[in-house]
């Protein structure tokens, strides 16, 4: 094809969502009064005009094959009003103006194998990254971890009876495409990269790789007469930041790439300011196809949170109230030297007071 025949793109950018919005939502845009949560997976929003919109939310496998997508749209056409949206955790929401459509919609979704829930104080769908399916630097899979965990957490998704909502995230490398979560399951490498010195000079832009290291542990070097890079393994924090710009610096290892669990990340401004998640467990085996060790720890944390937290406490609020020593006590997780931060700003995480719970 010659240059002249190539089609010029139309740079239309982000489309206007209004054209795809339920007519009741268009009509009452910015004029909503309150909402209720009549039952798990269902929301009822009432506008100042008196109009109502009902939402039915369902969890899916997130990576949809065309058959599953068509099943979802078919349900929306047959039982809903043909208007849907997706939440940031990849749940599908059907909006209908007639309350009588809610139950048939729930039945159709459930019969088709989708899971209605995820509203209110539920364990929401785990947000996840690409993993072995599509990422170029993954330490683990993402879809598989999430599928295996949601199999075990499905009742909490469906029942919505936690103290407050629980957002769980996963990340398949330490760069962390995944966000902050009440609980986060993230890759944690434990050994420095293994370098293929035959390839570095041809594949990697060496100064960029040196600059990428957070602890300045990488330097240019001649190895076996070849221009390459070397890592000061005493300084290396095994984060894997060098791997994306320099694939011959392989950070992933079937044995030494582990999973770590972090808790207390909260993006909302409700009650306290937004918080970052904190490390609670590491050294967890990266164990496909069902990662039982990681799931067991998540379930243990959730059990204690559900029993110990007061209404409306997110996991960070609960731990703020009971203190970290109690958190480790009730969950049975070990507290180690690795829990004490030594990165920039670490002093602010130390207890400079006599505030101690006994």
């Amino acid at each position: 094809m010659s240059f002249e025949d190539m089609r010029q793109p139309i740079e239309s950018g982000c489309p206007d969502g209004f054209q795809y919005m339920h007519p009741v939502m268009r009509k009452n845009f910015g004029m909503w009064k309150f909402h209720e949560h009549p039952k798990p997976g269902v929301l009822r929003h009432v506008a100042h005009s008196g109009d109502e919109i009902w939402t039915v939310k369902a969890g899916t496998q997130r990576i949809l094959d065309i058959y599953s997508l068509r099943k979802l749209t078919e349900i929306g056409e047959k039982y809903g009003d043909g208007y849907v949206r997706f939440t940031i955790r990849s749940n599908i929401e059907y909006m209908v103006s007639d309350a009588a459509k809610v139950d048939p919609l729930i039945t159709a979704l459930t019969d088709a194998g989708f899971v209605v829930g995820g509203t209110g104080n539920s364990v929401a769908m785990i947000s996840h990254t690409q993993g072995w399916l599509h990422c170029d630097i993954p330490g683990t899979d993402a879809s598989g971890v999430v599928k295996a965990m949601m199999d075990e957490l499905i009742d909490e998704f469906k029942n919505c009876n936690m103290p407050n909502r629980v957002h769980i995230t996963t990340s398949c490398c330490q760069i962390n495409c995944g966000g902050q979560g009440d609980i986060a399951i993230n890759v944690q490498h434990t050994k420095p990269p293994k370098i293929n010195h035959d390839l570095v000079a041809n594949v990697c832009e060496r100064p960029s790789v040196v600059a990428r290291c957070p602890v300045a542990a990488i330097r240019p070097a001649m190895v076996n007469g070849k221009a390459s890079l070397e890592v000061d393994e005493k300084k290396c924090i095994c984060c894997g930041a060098c791997f994306p710009p320099c694939p011959p610096m392989q950070i992933n290892d079937p044995e030494h790439t582990k999973l770590a669990i972090w808790v207390g990340g909260n993006h909302s401004n409700a009650r306290s300011k937004p918080t970052f998640q904190k490390l609670v467990a590491s050294g967890i085996p990266n164990n496909p196809p069902r990662w039982p060790e990681a799931t067991a720890i998540v379930k243990r944390i959730l059990k204690e949170y559900k029993e110990g937290a007061r209404d409306w406490e997110r996991i960070n609020d609960w731990i703020d109230r009971i203190g970290w020593p109690r958190f480790f006590e009730v969950t049975g997780l070990p507290f180690t030297k690795y829990h004490i931060d030594n990165w920039r700003g670490a002093r602010s995480s130390l207890n400079a007071s006599t505030h101690i719970r006994f």
């Binding site: 793109p9 206007d16 997130r62 094959d65 809903g80 401004n269």
Partner: protein, 419 residues
């Protein structure tokens, strides 16, 4: 015609068990039931490579350079390192497509997109990836161009990939939420569509993300994930429907209200009176949303709505996670001029970022390196005590411009007072 190549997938088969919908079962439907050889062979090959990853605990995709004619980004290129063993998915690129603001779709439009994807791609799609794009997962280089050409004709455009302005995201917002204090979707489109060139042709030091939430519940995680976070808020008194307060107290009991609402207020701005009405110290309310969330019918945001702007949020790489910092505590967004001012701040920010950030440095990291004041002076925004938790604690600072700076403060204050 030779039968398609099949691979044993004992580990992946384990992920077909259990009650949650299985993505593996979906892949197998494409492999076993789809009539088009291109699709069923690709699905089979993909399952083979994924099983290989599960067995060896390693990923086998490498990046490369693929884009559509006229653009420099928007595609995540993937070439298999084990393509000889799994040839039908040797090239398996993803197209990132910008969703409509608020992620609304008609089922009709979803079907149309699905039909186009079935023609040119693998039949696998995610709504949405972590940045917020529709991820059309899996096609070859020719397929990326054909698919894009087709959907671009009916209103869809690629998102960002690489060091560029990325696809933006906004919450459900005014379309369905009573807490919303802004038109999130308009804000998202004003911002990101002003930078389509920077979305499609990666030329920044690193990525730059816009996210918009309608209220401080921040359902799109903008403070922790966006370089440029816009959050709806209000500055007059919150609205209290005292009859609904009384109904709530009656239904839940005084103890519940005191334990779950009154004492949870971070600035002790609430008081439950003996007659079961609620008194609010609005001057000390920090708009945290907790009481509005719990007493949804009784309490609502005020009428004098606007937005707060925070800059510099990001995740770990390179210096550690950073939250965004308040740059504009409050601005109205009502007139076209108001929106233009917001876009102007974004332009100033991105220009300053493009000129001053190091390669692969995010906006928040640049601010950490040069100090907030240098950044503010660079984009022409005045300092404000809302930007800090507390003033400086260290005396290690040169202050010989103090009198001039104090004059600026008083001049601004008298300007504000004059209206």
């Amino acid at each position: 015609m030779a039968a398609k190549k099949m691979y044993d997938t004992p580990m992946l088969d384990e992920l077909e068990k259990g009650p949650w919908p299985s993505f593996i079962s979906g892949f197998k439907r494409l492999r076993d039931d789809h009539p088009d050889e291109r699709i069923n062979e690709m699905a089979s090959s993909l399952l083979g490579q994924l099983e290989h990853s599960y067995e060896t605990r390693k990923g086998y995709w490498k990046g490369g350079t693929v884009s559509v004619f006229g653009y420099g980004g928007g595609i995540i290129p993937r070439f298999s390192e084990v393509g000889d063993a799994f040839p039908a998915s040797r090239e398996f690129h993803t197209l990132r497509v910008q969703p409509p603001a608020g992620n609304y779709y008609t089922t009709e439009m979803l079907n149309q997109l699905g039909d186009s994807w079935e023609k040119h791609g693998s039949g696998l799609v995610t709504f949405h990836g972590q940045t917020g794009n529709i991820m059309f997962i899996g096609t070859n280089t020719a397929g990326t161009q054909h698919f894009f050409d087709e959907i671009n004709e009916y209103g869809w455009d690629l998102g960002g990939a690489g060091p560029c302005v990325r696809t933006a995201m906004s919450c459900v917002g005014s379309a369905r939420c009573e807490q919303s204090c802004a038109n999130e979707h308009a804000i998202q489109r004003w911002l990101v569509n002003n930078f389509t060139d920077d979305v499609h042709r990666p030329a920044l030091p690193y990525k730059f993300k816009f996210k918009v939430s309608g209220c401080p519940n921040d359902c799109v995680n903008s403070i922790e994930r966006a370089d440029f976070a816009v959050i709806g808020t209000w500055r007059d008194d919150m609205k209290v429907d005292q009859d609904e307060v009384k109904n709530f107290v009656k239904a839940k009991g005084r103890e519940y209200v005191i334990d779950n609402v009154i004492t949870r207020c971070p600035t002790q701005a609430l008081s439950l009176k003996d007659d079961d009405t609620l008194e609010v110290d609005n001057h000390n309310c920090v708009r945290c949303m907790h009481c509005l969330n719990v007493m949804n019918k009784a309490l609502s945001p005020g009428d004098d709505k606007g937005i707060t702007l925070l800059i510099g949020g990001k995740r770990t790489l390179k210096i550690g996670d950073l939250m965004g910092t308040v740059i504009v505590p409050f601005m109205k967004l009502e007139t076209e001029e108001d929106y233009e001012r917001l876009v102007e701040i974004a332009e100033e920010t991105i220009d300053f970022f493009a000129e001053n950030a190091l390669e692969h440095e995010r906006t928040g990291e640049m601010i950490e390196r040069i100090g907030l004041v240098n950044f503010l002076e660079g984009i022409g925004i005045d300092v404000d005590p809302h930007m800090v938790n507390n003033p400086r604690q260290s005396s290690y600072v040169r202050t010989d411009g103090w009198d001039e700076e104090a004059e600026k403060w008083f001049a601004r204050k008298s300007e504000e007072a004059a209206g």
